[in-house]
Point group: C2
Chain length 310, copies 2
Amino acid sequence: MSSQRATAFVPGHVTAFFSAHPAGDPAVAGSRGAGLTLADGVTVRVSAPADAVDGDGNDGDAVDASDRDGGGSDATDGGSRTIDGEAGSIGAVDDVLAELDATAADVAVETDLPIGAGFGVSGAAALGAALAANHAFDRACTENDLVRIAHAAEVGRGTGLGDVVAQARGGVPVRLEPGAPGAGELDGVPATARVEYVTFGELSTETVLDGDTDALTAAGEDALDRLRADPRLPTLMDAAREFAREADLLVPEVAEAVEAVDAAGGEAAMAMLGRTVFALGTGLSDAGYDPEVCRIDAAGARLVDGRDGE
Amino acid sequence: MSSQRATAFVPGHVTAFFSAHPAGDPAVAGSRGAGLTLADGVTVRVSAPADAVDGDGNDGDAVDASDRDGGGSDATDGGSRTIDGEAGSIGAVDDVLAELDATAADVAVETDLPIGAGFGVSGAAALGAALAANHAFDRACTENDLVRIAHAAEVGRGTGLGDVVAQARGGVPVRLEPGAPGAGELDGVPATARVEYVTFGELSTETVLDGDTDALTAAGEDALDRLRADPRLPTLMDAAREFAREADLLVPEVAEAVEAVDAAGGEAAMAMLGRTVFALGTGLSDAGYDPEVCRIDAAGARLVDGRDGE
């Protein structure tokens, strides 16, 4: 029933606010907070060499990784690595593949989201690689196993603390307790909405997380308390704006956009951590921006190809 | 931001095997086991009278409940209740509405799934009513709150033990510990597949659950141990067949269909608790049946209308 090839989709995730909770065990480390998962996300295609897979292999209708355009490929332990068709790899993805004994895979990461701008692309790529490699190599992990592996890889690389568990759930995830399944605890704000976003550039997650996070974490805990007392989207957006101010993370272009959306009667906030503003509904359009448009993702991370029983 | 009207979709759920775990507190009671959630499911439309909602009410693009065809409506505490356009209500739905102080709602339940045949329609209707009523009445519950309310209603009515938590998650849910969020614990088999099913009639969940469940529970625990040791779809199907035999729940038409699918090289099992057989891929078609066809649902229960910020 293994397919040798598999494809996974993982939604983007804009964090509205968070508190950092480091720990020696990367599966226990993580963040509390809340955010929106987005129907704009990351697709990961994994292709296993035939001799690396036990089982009956090959289901004919899976997408052939060689159909991708873009000739670039970066051989790592035998398998190629591409990001949007160009040779390149992501640290957390490499660590996931090593953990699943799947470094021989060809791995293609594709996304329309900007990288390093607060959409959790590295976490999404890690989780997508875990889901697709598990299937292509017939590794028999559960969903919780795969989320744990991707979360630990992301935390180990210092590129994120809470994106992976949020992206696994979908919707509007609330991280009540930090960490991977078994340690962490999740809830969600039941909501569906159109989301607009504009990105002004990169902001280094590592630099912020490596600095003094005490003020940030105090502000994040306050924001979470507010949301738990009133778990609705407008409260989430208001708590996000207050968090950005209190944690002193607002950058000028984002502050200006948030103010412009507010002046036009909408709801916007900064994506943590990126030079990105996101808004509900037509908030950014109404304020005169030319945003990307998507929706809250209802499903969370999922295999989209690599079918059993077909 | 309240919408007064909201629509939720909840996937069907065929239980492959289970063990029953009664408890005094219905949020703690439940079942262990595993099953498949289906893209065929239940849509619940809730409409709140204007005077029952705090907030700014009314977003113009929500579906108008009065657009439904079918003139039948059964006034209960003021609100109408329909199932597929005919007057009628479901006990667990009534209990959910009471818990959310939303009995004044007009509630329309729509499904293509057969009722009483092992697809978890009552649980899906309860969870869909919870999601939609929470939004329409602006009740500010979290997703976990709503799953807990729907699970308790379903357990209280004796119509199911594990469907609601499975339907909330989507995919191929594995119920590691019984009960609602806060008590129960879930994992999932990462898989996507085409699913076929044929129904031969109703089987009363209440009658089985009210009887002696010791043999059933022992068989269910064995099946769960097998799946946890090898969390893949073919193992789930095999464990389901063994469970049905050991728990002595197989009905003749289903046993015959399972054998026919096996003889044709496919994988089929009985949906617990219904006179229903489900198969992966083209299993039932290949065996000469004329099945309904759908896929594993990736998303789980979700609001599909009742949008914030639009």
